[in-house]
């Protein structure tokens, strides 16, 4: 009859929940689409190791947590640290954080807070830097600190046109470099910074190569796979990531020459923008690509925004390099937290043009105010340009799958019709 069972600890339960979320998405990526890419196996395995087996990747290394893309990884690598970006896509952690934040908060921030609250990391950050970007991230720092974690705020301006903002941010980055250098007990030198700028730059150039293939009529890689690749950059060993992406580039070259197309002949080409899809919250991208459309480009901070713009150095001396790094993270950024953000609209239009996009899908996390607010200007701009756009608000919960699918499918069908009419 009824036997005695061992019962999971809260951490074990949390890990199992996350493993279940993770494997669900990994299996969908592996199994739901035609012509799988061999070099993607590296990434599938990586995510399985980290999120199903909870395997640490950086034992013995100094791990530097970052709360947004604005914390320059170039400086972290130069100081022998491993950057770990803590923007979190797990519903399990979102539910934990939900008890600590107001009801209508952003799921990404809730998930990050939830992860810190549970203190259940496979690679626990030794120190975390939090740029004061959106209100929720800014305020989350104090909540996280109250759990006994070390969080250091890095002042980030919310206008990017003014010279004063630029000077302020450059000072912030210098302050960050000094703080981290103290923490690491290592000096930032011209040589180590130049080397890390070049290494991160090389990683970016590989990303640019990947995106080039997506301009072709036959697209050799799915958008969801691309999100996984860029997402791996959040936490993977950079050298391993570079090697894996080199292999991927080589395979895509081969596929491209053979005309391999991962979608259907009539599949509309989508440019994705808005709140970042972060593993395993690939809900909307998966629905899009399971609905016979293909994501050819994105304007999100978990992918394109992270890699698009390079550090442009005038003189390879230390202070010039730091200023150039600062500029990249401010001037090129298209985050909706800024007062004026026409850059983002221009970027989306440019992506639609250069990737032959048929339409745009704009996702905002329910509770992510800045993306919710900016939909108005983006929708108006797309209308002016004659670019069809679908705006979707969603969160991390697994419900509403059916309703969301119907909306996306209807949009995809309308794009197909439009294409047919044009012919």
């Amino acid at each position: 009859m009824h036997t005695e069972h061992t019962i999971e600890s809260p951490h074990e339960r949390q890990n199992r929940h996350k493993a279940m979320e993770a494997i669900h998405v990994i299996n969908a990526l592996k199994e739901d689409f035609k012509s799988p890419i061999k070099s993607m196996e590296y990434f599938y395995t990586l995510f399985e190791r980290v999120y199903c087996n909870h395997e640490p990747l950086h034992e013995g290394k100094s791990k530097i947590g970052t709360m947004c893309i604005q914390i320059p990884s170039e400086i972290i690598y130069a100081l022998d640290g491993v950057p770990i970006r803590l923007c979190n896509g797990f519903y399990t952690d979102d539910e934990i954080g939900g008890d600590l934040m107001p009801q209508k908060s952003c799921p990404l921030v809730k998930a990050t807070v939830g992860l810190f609250a549970s203190d259940n990391f496979s690679d626990k950050p030794d120190i975390t830097f939090s740029p004061t970007t959106c209100d929720q991230k800014t305020k989350a720092g104090a909540i996280i600190e109250s759990f006994g974690h070390t969080i250091i705020d890095v002042g980030f301006p919310r206008t990017k046109e003014s010279e004063a903002s630029r000077a302020y941010w450059r000072e912030s980055v210098k302050g960050f470099a000094v703080e981290l250098s103290k923490f690491q007990g290592k000096k930032l030198t011209r040589t180590n910074l130049e080397n890390s700028i070049k290494k991160v730059g090389y990683a970016q150039s590989l990303y640019h190569k990947l995106t080039e293939f997506r301009k072709h009529q036959a697209v050799p890689i799915l958008g969801v796979d691309m999100f996984l690749v860029t997402n791996a950059f959040f936490f993977d060993k950079i050298d391993d990531w570079i090697r894996a992406v080199e292999n991927l580039v080589a395979e895509l070259e081969q596929r491209s020459s053979e005309g391999v197309h991962v979608a259907g002949k009539a599949s509309p080409r989508i440019v994705y923008t808005g709140s970042p899809p972060i593993f395993p919250n690939y809900k909307i991208p998966l629905i899009i690509e399971q609905s016979d459309a293909i994501i050819v480009a994105d304007e999100t901070c978990s992918s394109n925004r992270m890699f698009n713009d390079m550090v442009a150095v005038d003189e390879w001396n230390l202070y010039d390099m730091i200023d150039s790094i600062s500029d990249k993270y401010l001037k090129a950024c298209t985050c909706p937290i800024f007062t004026q953000n026409d850059d983002r609209i221009r970027r989306i239009i440019q992506l639609v043009r250069s990737y032959s996009g048929d339409g745009v899908i704009y996702q905002a996390f329910a509770g992510c105010q800045v993306y919710e607010m900016e939909q108005r200007s983006v929708l108006a701009a797309m209308e002016r340009e004659g670019i069809p756009i679908l705006y979707i608000e969603s969160d991390y919960s697994p419900s509403q799958q059916g309703q969301l699918t119907t909306r996306v499918e209807a949009f995809v069908e309308s794009l197909k019709n439009r294409k047919r009419m044009k012919k």
């Binding site: 009824h2 019962i7 199992r16 299996n27 199903c52």
Partner: protein, 268 residues
């Protein structure tokens, strides 16, 4: 000797319990509801009484409960399965401490019942609309996997990988998900544990609506499935109590109520 009968007519099975004057369970019977609830219920009752050697005249009070309770016209009284479940659980677990929370998964519904220190129902929650995550759902799953319902537990404990969650606990949609998983050669063990965890998560959400207070009692046919029991324990984070005959708690509660009703009538 006086005997008391509780009869629980559910969507899947008819459960009958007989109690003596001390409210002890003297016998029970479980039979399929089938297409003719009333006829089958009558037959099952006379079979049970014959097996126990009890004359029909010795049955002094009968209480019917369950979805089909109003169909059983011979009953002296009928009562909702929530009240009956609460009374049955307390009586069945009386040697194991006070029951404060009951989880019941039936053939086509699931419930969470919260009790106060005296055993009165203070709150309850039920699933709405459909058979998602109920006994019927487990039947469908087992059928798709081509294994018996009674084998689900063994498969659960043999699962080595990550449980493969089913995003829909709707019996209809889950079927196609399971076929998809099988088609991609995932192990039956991991599918089974995934199904159990999906049900467990759902039921624990329901329980949290009424508040989780120990001790927690789990009954209904699916409580025979030890794998599901463990999944619920893991989701709750603590042990739950499963009675020896989890299917008959509610009918036993009805029999206990019959005894009480008879005694109070005779006093008056």
């Amino acid at each position: 000797m006086n005997y008391f009968v509780g009869i629980d007519i559910g969507s899947t099975a008819i459960k009958i319990s007989v109690a003596d004057e001390n409210k002890n369970l003297v016998g029970h019977k479980i039979s399929a509801s089938g297409s003719m609830f009333y006829k089958y219920a009558q037959e099952a009752l006379s079979d049970l009484l014959r097996e126990l050697g009890i004359d029909e005249k010795e049955v002094v009070y009968t209480v019917a409960t369950g979805y089909g309770r109003k169909l059983f016209k011979e009953a002296d009284e009928n009562i909702s399965e929530i009240t009956a479940n609460a009374i049955g659980a307390q009586q069945a677990a009386k040697e194991h401490g006070n029951i404060k929370t009951i989880i019941n998964i039936g053939g086509q519904d699931s419930k969470a019942i919260s009790l106060d220190a005296e055993g009165n129902v203070v709150n309850f929650a039920m699933n709405d609309r459909c058979a998602a995550g109920t006994g019927k759902f487990l039947d469908v799953v087992a059928m798709n996997l081509e294994i018996g319902v009674d084998e689900l537990s063994d498969y659960h404990f043999k699962s080595k990988g990550t449980p493969l969650s089913i995003s829909s606990t709707c019996a209809v949609f889950a079927e196609s998900e399971i076929i998809g998983l099988l088609g991609n050669n995932h192990s039956v063990e991991d599918i089974v544990s995934g199904v159990h965890y999906s049900i467990a998560k759902r039921i624990v959400k329901l329980v949290k609506r009424v508040g989780v207070k120990e001790n927690v009692y789990f009954d209904g046919g699916p409580a025979l499935n030890d794998g599901l029991v463990n999944a619920i324990e893991n989701e709750l984070g603590h042990k739950i109590f499963v009675p020896d005959y989890p299917q008959i708690t509610t009918s036993y509660g009805a029999a206990v109520l019959a005894c009480d009703a008879f005694n109070s009538e005779s006093v008056n």
